[in-house]
């Protein structure tokens, strides 16, 4: 397993460097956008002295490199500064809003894998039949519209016209759940409140499905394409001529080699959900990071902007890291070669 660990360590290192680059970039960009953050925060009635005082507190008059140095030394202590909008530490704000977004993305990602992969496998196994045609239609439908369009359509169909699902929010107001982790799925369980858990799950289904649809479509299409190619390989012929049942060939012998090229793309889809989640959250009034992100950008809330972007980049990188590790675990060629890239 040593090469796997080696790859892991290297990827972590690269991710840290990328994060550092992102932080510099967003730090500079946030300060270049026109508008004085202190003036916006204090409002039009504040005096010039008050504005100057806040600017000094925010160190806005110092050179940008010095500001960045301060930012880094605070970051090392886990401090992302204070939000001028909520008047709370940015870390606290993020801890409040990020779990809702992550919960949405994880459920959507799980849907993508649990629905997309089997659809792709079935499509390849019964290629050329009506099953294949039906699945390909569905998959094409999924990728043909962006997730916020699906969000609106699904909401109209299954929450408004056919009220099967709640129309908005994370959980019904009737439940008061103490916030421990911020993840409702965990917090409801910690509270031992199964009804609340069910209620939270019921709320997440529609927005998560809207977010997952294009990923499901893409996963199914990709898996099908790779598997159809694998079906022509001699080792599948070999499995056939040894009488291995069709189902076993599909689910094991043709699927696993095909998963390797699919996995990287699936990982990217997963990460792309982070961006798409913003719009889906807006449609379903999901109390995630999107609303916070948009308002801090409009208010030029410097620390909050940098903090939010950094956290999103970090989440993105962590997801990529997980995918990379999964690929090395599945692909023996990478695991056993010393020159692994």
């Amino acid at each position: 397993m040593t090469p796997t660990i080696l790859i892991f360590v290297r990827r972590v290192g690269i991710s840290c460097i990328v994060l550092l680059g992102v932080s510099m970039l967003i730090f500079a960009i946030a300060r270049v956008i026109p508008g004085d953050p202190a003036r916006i925060a204090l409002g039009p009635s504040a005096t010039a002295e008050q504005v100057a005082k806040l600017r000094a507190e925010l160190r806005l008059d110092e050179p940008i490199a010095v500001q960045y140095g301060h930012f880094l030394s605070e970051l090392a202590q886990g401090d992302l500064g204070i939000s001028l909008y909520t008047n709370r530490p940015v870390v606290v704000d993020i801890a409040q809003f990020l779990p809702a977004t992550l919960e949405l993305i994880f459920v959507a990602g799980a849907m993508m894998i649990v629905i997309g992969l089997p659809l792709g496998i079935a499509s390849a196994r019964w290629r050329g039949t009506w099953i294949d045609n039906a699945i390909r239609m569905i998959a094409l439908l999924g990728v043909s519209a962006p997730s916020f369009v699906w969000a609106v359509i699904l909401m109209l169909l299954f929450a408004y016209f056919l009220p099967l699902f709640p129309i908005a929010g994370r959980i019904s107001d009737t439940f008061a759940i103490e916030q421990v982790t911020g993840f409702l799925f965990l917090d409801t369980l910690i509270a031992g409140n199964l009804a609340a858990f069910g209620n939270a799950a019921w709320h997440v289904i529609l927005p998560a499905f809207a977010l997952a649809l294009s990923g499901i479509g893409q996963t199914a299409r990709l898996t099908r394409a790779n598997m159809v190619e694998t079906y022509d390989k001699p080792y599948v012929e070999m499995a056939r001529s040894y009488g291995v049942p069709d189902r076993r060939i599909a689910n094991r012998y043709a699927f696993k080699p095909s998963l390797i090229p699919s996995l990287t793309i699936i990982g990217l889809d997963f990460a792309a959900m982070l961006g798409n989640a913003f719009l889906v959250e807006a449609v379903f009034a999901w109390p995630g990071l999107s609303r916070y992100g948009v308002s801090v950008i409009l208010r030029k809330d410097l620390d909050a902007i940098v903090g939010t972007v950094l956290i999103i980049s970090a989440t993105f990188l962590i997801m990529n890291l997980i995918v990379d590790v999964l690929v090395t675990i599945i692909n023996p060629r990478i695991r056993y070669s010393r020159t692994a890239s």
Partner: protein, 293 residues
């Protein structure tokens, strides 16, 4: 008289495409006695692999394939068996060795896992440990002295020759009645190919396994088989014990094939344009059985 391991009578095969119906086999008859090694020789596209695929019951699954005639395996008419029963025979009573061993093994599973799968075909309840023991025994038979390492390896970690030995060991592990070898090891180095063929010959002799040996190389066939069928454009044009066919090839096509043997560097068949009619005159004429047009 003993029941032949394989008895093919007047086998015809055609493919129905959108535009036309193409007949590929025009009534082939072929028989293999228990423990006999029979070669099917012919040029590319003559219909060797499709014959093997029909015996394995694989082509029957293809919608476009039209098959007639009879294939009797150990006294059982394959036509009378369901697809499921034909599948049961594969990997247990009949097995296969392929052209390119390395690409015939699944790249993402260890040899051990794949060997286990093969053994489970004959004994579904076989556990990992018993499989390991049996596989080690078979790997020793194909002169692999460190079965444990091979067991833990992935195909890409082994040489082509090693993989070919593994394939042979897998093919014989369930003591099949018939081994089909479709141009075995032609993807390998010539010397490695010769070595593994010799090994395979010794093993099938030892296990008394019947072999359908498919090749386009008469030189290899001479080394391996007892009897030979020469197939040309979907017809058997000549058959007989290896020695006599090689000594007195009756058909122009056989002579052409033989002339092609020493030309290792390729170039295929030499030109033999003088008597084209010879080629459409089979030496072996099968009595037509009723029912087939």
């Amino acid at each position: 008289m003993t029941v032949p391991t394989l008895d093919i009578r007047d086998l015809r095969l055609g493919f129905k495409t959108y535009e036309a119906y193409i007949e590929v086999l025009h009534g082939i008859s072929l028989s293999i006695a228990p423990g006999e090694r029979v070669a099917l020789v012919g040029e590319s596209g003559s219909g060797k692999s499709v014959t093997a695929r029909i015996v394995l019951g694989l082509l029957q699954l293809l919608r476009s394939a039209r098959i007639s005639g009879s294939v009797v395996f150990e006294g059982r008419d394959l036509d009378r068996l369901s697809a499921r029963e034909r599948r049961r025979l594969r990997g247990t009573r009949m097995t296969m060795v392929f052209q390119d061993p390395t690409s015939s093994l699944n790249p993402v599973y260890r040899i051990g896992t794949q060997f286990h799968e093969v053994l489970k075909r004959a004994d579904p309840a076989m556990n990992e440990r018993a499989a390991r023991e049996r596989a080690a025994q078979m790997l020793l038979e194909v002169s692999i002295d460190d079965p444990d390492r091979v067991f833990e390896s992935y195909p890409f970690q082994l040489s082509g020759g090693m993989n070919q030995r593994v394939m042979i060991a897998m093919a014989l592990a369930n003591e099949p009645a018939l081994l089909i070898a479709d141009e075995p090891g032609t993807a390998l180095d010539v010397t490695v190919q010769a070595q593994t063929l010799k090994l395979m010959r010794e093993l099938v002799e030892h296990h008394h396994t019947s072999v359908l040996f498919i090749s386009h190389n008469l030189g290899v066939v001479r080394e391996f088989a007892d009897r030979v069928y020469v197939i040309y454009k979907g017809r058997i044009v000549e058959q007989g014990p290896c020695a006599s066919v090689f000594e007195r090839p009756g058909h122009a096509y056989t002579r052409a094939l033989m002339a092609a043997v020493p030309r290792i560097t390729g170039g295929g068949l030499p030109d033999i344009g003088d008597e084209p009619r010879d080629f459409s005159q089979p030496l072996v004429v099968h009595e037509s059985r009723g029912g087939h047009a």
